[in-house]
Symmetry: C2
Subunit: 479 residues, 2 copies
Amino acid sequence: MFRRRFRLVFSLLFATAIMFSHFASLSARSDQDSAFSAAPPRTLIRNASLMLTMDPNLGDGLLGQLENADILLEGDTIVAVGHNLNGEGARVIDATGKIVMPGFVDTHNHLWQSLIRGCAHDESLDEWLFQCVVPFRAASLPVSEQDAYNGVRYSTLDLIGTGVTTVVEVSHAFTPEFVRGSVRALTDSGLRFAYSYTGNSQPATIQHIRAVKEEFIDPNPLASLQVGSHPVPANFSNGNLQAMVALAKEFDVPLNVHLLEGASQRRDEPLKLLEQSGAFPDVQVIGNHGIHITDQEIADYLVKYDIRLTHNPLSNMRLASGFMRLHELHAAGVKVGLGLDGGSNDTSDFFNTMRIAVGIQRGRFMTADVYPSVPEVLRMATLGGAELLDMDDEIGSLTPGKKADLIIINPRAINFGRAMDLVAQLVFNGQPQNVEWVFVNGRALLADGKYVGVNPDKVIDAVEESMIKVKRELEPFLK
Amino acid sequence: MFRRRFRLVFSLLFATAIMFSHFASLSARSDQDSAFSAAPPRTLIRNASLMLTMDPNLGDGLLGQLENADILLEGDTIVAVGHNLNGEGARVIDATGKIVMPGFVDTHNHLWQSLIRGCAHDESLDEWLFQCVVPFRAASLPVSEQDAYNGVRYSTLDLIGTGVTTVVEVSHAFTPEFVRGSVRALTDSGLRFAYSYTGNSQPATIQHIRAVKEEFIDPNPLASLQVGSHPVPANFSNGNLQAMVALAKEFDVPLNVHLLEGASQRRDEPLKLLEQSGAFPDVQVIGNHGIHITDQEIADYLVKYDIRLTHNPLSNMRLASGFMRLHELHAAGVKVGLGLDGGSNDTSDFFNTMRIAVGIQRGRFMTADVYPSVPEVLRMATLGGAELLDMDDEIGSLTPGKKADLIIINPRAINFGRAMDLVAQLVFNGQPQNVEWVFVNGRALLADGKYVGVNPDKVIDAVEESMIKVKRELEPFLK
């Protein structure tokens, strides 16, 4: 029953070109000071009880651990890591008793989906899509620019609150207005982001992607572009997939796709479609979820073409997609990053995402001797994500010369236990409420537990108005 | 290698009678006002946007939902639930915009294990036990009364912070001093608790259990007793198991055991040992974890003798024990409650425990059409836990006449999304930081986000001293 209905509407809507009614000017600027224009001061973070540099050349072990260490930021850059650094003229933050580490790299999200948190809570992936996402593909049910802005802005605060400093926003790009609202909110957030524009073969769409790139992405040192498609037969038949492959080549940016998230996607043979679209070997493909990939496909496609995967364990559990075979994928040499997929797992808690990424593999194999270990998942959540995005020359570790994207965590809290093993506690006990400072590109987005330059109450008020509207619009589709 | 070493030491230590060196007087009282002596005032909690009464006679659906509802507490009791209640003379708490529901019932914990948070973080159950728990069975490595107090007190604050109002403390009861420290901390916490005393056949132990019952449990309306054992062959050979079965019968209290948590426990045939010890059908057995139970055992033992199970998903993932077959157990009619098992999953987050209990079954079956659904897990976390403990005439729902154990949650937060489905958000998005008020027996333990009658900083200082000591003592055992 469902399957028939789903396939019908899916073919009609999801795989059809988006009908852009008009292309409003992109000249509207963020209504805040541009997040990337401020010149941040020198900042010395001193005496961190534990510093996880993620650089084995700087400290002990896989995580490059240091104790009682300082880090000096100048402008947008880390200039020194060590002991007793000279902080003359710098703003000083005392990190005694605290943990300093790179910010989390959230390799997969749909930030606008905060607007549909809680939707179809006891349904599996396909039915959830049908009830809560697909309706917005219809021109009669748009998400306005303001709604998109409100949803994305709200989600970015949630990301900052859990210590994320870089996010890959896989945008459904329903309309040009939706895109503008989304990108403006990301820009205002001050986060480093990759915006994946899910496009199609319509000339108007291609033109809009170029315009977004020129106006919003290229001028922003914190932003980068990806292009997205959905590797299903309809998108191959109508040339949408090929168009995005061509654009990825032209721009030399990754192609971001959902890849075998649900078992029902096996019938689409998405890897063959990508191959037939000319994606391999030239295009860097980032595949999200990758739960139902066969061993043969790991060898024939993922390893051969260096396809990278995002792992979104909380979303996969919420939507009943299954357990990713992370241990096996890692053993085969596939690069995998962690993602919140905030819209579909509802929540944004990177500590929990790490915890469950560890736990699922231990549960599957009934031994703790599997990937990822506690240090491995911390690396995966930071430098691993940066590697997946080919941004590891810029972010992911506290190596001098890299951008100053880092967080300070206060483990003096009821939910921690500092004495035995603080590294393990980050993974097993960390909660967003323990994150005190978040720096992106040298600029504090969270300072001593408070959001900087934004009033969260106003963001909540705004998003609730949009949520109520969205709920009303979705009601005819909800079971 | 490990297995040999483990079995040797396990037989020597774990299955051996605890050698009590002396029995100090039990006369020392809590160093705070007794938590249960205060007579709380009338309290009216008014206009909760969402009230989950868990009583279908009071409101809609499985969770007995009400909107814009009031609840009136008098002394230790809920006296009324409804709209526009008369709160004359009552302290009024405005719950506009907030969620009111029964507190969580944590059916399984070892609160002292906050002292070993982070221990052996990349090891499976047996090795973790060997390195982090078994050493304390040796008389040469005691946990002092003060250390036990500090660890348990710290954990109780963590429980209160996540909205737990009743906890089953499965105590290792290493020494009489340890027991006294544990029970004093529980008493001081103001939580409702069952103290499961893990005992043996030594007359001195039996005598001490009687003394604890008389001095600490019986006079405290918030406390109840369970007795515990570990159903392994050695405990059968030396009569420890039989002694605890006999005591459970005499006191008419549950026998609390760890039941097939790890796959290696299959060889012990614990259900046969329980049967041979005379536990069935007279003793109410509560089995913790129950991951490696066969279908045959479900029919022959669990259903036949109404054995109840605690489900501790985060602990089971951390220690690589496996995934409980919760869906199948529920379908067979077995009563299962949720537990934090805080020591071995390290963390205390009941929202996350619910979320993962849902997610594991969805991951296993790759459909959301399995037990528990979102409403079912909320019921399981509250009334289900009370039923497991045969305390559902007293707690677990907001039914007038029951004890006033309830929590107030503020969903106006960056991590929530209030508009679409607030019930789902509790499970998918809730975090401990959203819990604002916790009432046990009519008394506020958390008020507007602040702990009542206790300084958490002092508790942290105290526990860290104990943690450092414990770490030093464990170091020879750590790999």
